[in-house]
Symmetry: C2
Subunit: 230 residues, 2 copies
């Protein structure tokens, strides 16, 4: 039985889904030789933790500021110092993340099949426009939507509502694509047809909703949408 | 200058603050020899992550169920299987956590100084009554308060409001004690006089409020309250 995802639109997460946050570790390694991976992992984990803590506290800081504070925490916890120039070069690396190899072709295939394509991300509008323009992905999308508009981070349902309101389609005709299991849990819980892009063979989370389908790459996703025949 | 904390009541977190969650790793090691530390660390991190994700999604599961699901995720992500008996023995370990060495004397000193003492925790009422009775700490507290009453986890302000409503004191006359930096961030943001019990020399988080004082043990906290002279 072929896996299929019968949807009229696809909403994409960005970091880790379309563009590779792992490519930041090269910049971390340049600034702190030998510690690149440590910094990169601590930074990403703390960045996400801060979004969920702010959500829980009912507070908001934009994602660039969250990312900056997570970086400062990571430096301090690893016993490293960093000047403003180093900090800025690492934050700017977020504007120059490389797309995963399978992204451009899959977006083209999905667009050719008549599906509407959107982006919905924790990133600020400036971060998103920057990274999507620099990676050449911007022209594929009809809209770039940021949580900044609602002042709360994923997986708050107000975030997923943003895309639903724009698309004006039944929720189960909207595919939501993310490499992050917790984002899939939130999007599925909201009602989207969630497609988990599990590039690394990870284990699904045990809270929230479940993925409608799981694929190991975006070409697999494009095939699943074609297979739906609708 | 002596550090001091001028408060009329103290609200305590439990896990990691009064009782040592590290003592679970012994039970993990018994069930899975050689993997105890891995399981214990993955379990605790995922347990907390699930509380924040549920908060963000606007969903609630009680803390025993969150803890159980985090354990199942940890087994799966580490490629381990566990039968129901093993699962139950690990969950029951939460009822038999050992108090840190300095806890009993400090609670007695604080109680003798006339301060009102409460507990406010993510744990279910059953988990809290169990662990505090088994560790002999229960008689020190005038109330054991669980987030279960409001159906949301720390650091949501509704949780801290529970203790404030019971105490009917100005917020800055209520000390909040936790070993978890993110809990201090939330309690301080709410308005409590937060005392960070930083047993491990950790680095403070960069979101939310800041600790009024930082101590490396509960005897230091008791001294700080005495020093306040009020």
């Amino acid at each position: 039985m072929k896996k299929c995802l019968a949807v009229d639109a696809l909403v994409f997460d960005v970091y880790g889904t379309l563009v590779d946050t792992g490519s930041i570790s090269a910049e971390c390694e340049r600034v702190f030789p030998g510690r690149g991976t440590d910094i990169c992992e601590a930074w990403r984990a703390k960045q996400l933790q801060y979004t969920w803590l702010l959500n829980s506290m009912g507070e908001y800081l934009n994602f660039r500021e969250v990312t900056r504070r997570a970086l400062i925490f990571s430096f301090r916890s690893l016993g490293l110092g960093c000047d403003k120039d180093g900090e800025r070069s690492l934050l700017d690396a977020y504007l120059h993340l490389a797309p995963f190899m399978d992204v451009k072709q899959a977006l083209q295939d999905l667009s050719d099949s008549g599906r509407r394509l959107l982006v919905l991300s924790n990133g600020t509008p400036g971060m998103l426009d920057g990274v999507l323009a620099n990676s050449g992905l911007l022209p594929h999308f009809e809209a770039i939507m940021s949580v900044d508009e609602v002042g709360v981070f994923k997986p708050d349902p107000k975030v997923y509502r943003l895309a639903a309101d724009r698309l004006e389609l039944p929720l189960d005709r909207i595919g939501f694509v993310s490499a992050n299991s917790w984002d899939i849990a939130g999007a599925s819980n909201f009602g989207f047809a969630a497609a988990w892009l599990n590039r690394t063979g990870s284990v699904a989370d045990e809270v929230g909703g479940s993925a409608r389908i799981e694929v190991d790459g975006l070409s697999g996703l494009a095939a699943s949408v074609r297979n739906s025949g609708s």
